[in-house]
Amino acid sequence: MRSADPRRPPRPHLPGTADEIRARVPVVRESWRYIDQAVLRSGPADPRIKELCFRFLAGELHEAELDGSGGRERAALDWADAIVNDSSRADDSVWARLHASFTEEELVDLGCAIGFELGQQHWRRTIGLPARAHQP
């Protein structure tokens, strides 16, 4: 496998923003717009916790930022870690904390949001775009 030259800035393999690239196939653009509006930017789960998880997926989150954060944030991030890295990490202990912190409706919304965002970030990176549209 060839590895990218770290001295070269990534060059997008398709021109445009993510939305402009998706617009080449209108049904793809519309599907992602719906997901973005209905799940990523709204829904029953706390949007702050979704954003925290999205930043974790992108590798933007630093441990120091979590000082003083509560059990909800920790449980959500532990779940996101299991989703990304190893599903077996979502063991009974993690699920007990998730159920103590969120309703089942919130868990469905949060989990699906993490899944959509994970796939989207990986797709963007294969094209040469940053994982997220707005980098820190």
Binding site: A4, R22, V28, G111, I114, G115, G119, H122
Partner: protein, 69 residues
Amino acid sequence: MLVWHPEGADEHVWAGLREHFSDEQIVELGSFVALTYGQQSVIKTWDVGHGELPGHPTAGLAPDEGIGA
């Protein structure tokens, strides 16, 4: 590549894609893989197997006897 090493999708990989697919097909295929990868990653933490969701007999992970098993 999209699942395991997105940055590894280099010029060589993209040249191979363009040999077989139009840009529109690449966009559609990439979106399909992204959606499937993300949602299957979540479903795995539910510990739900293929065919185990009531009313959705084909939902869940691919069966063990599938490709590569």
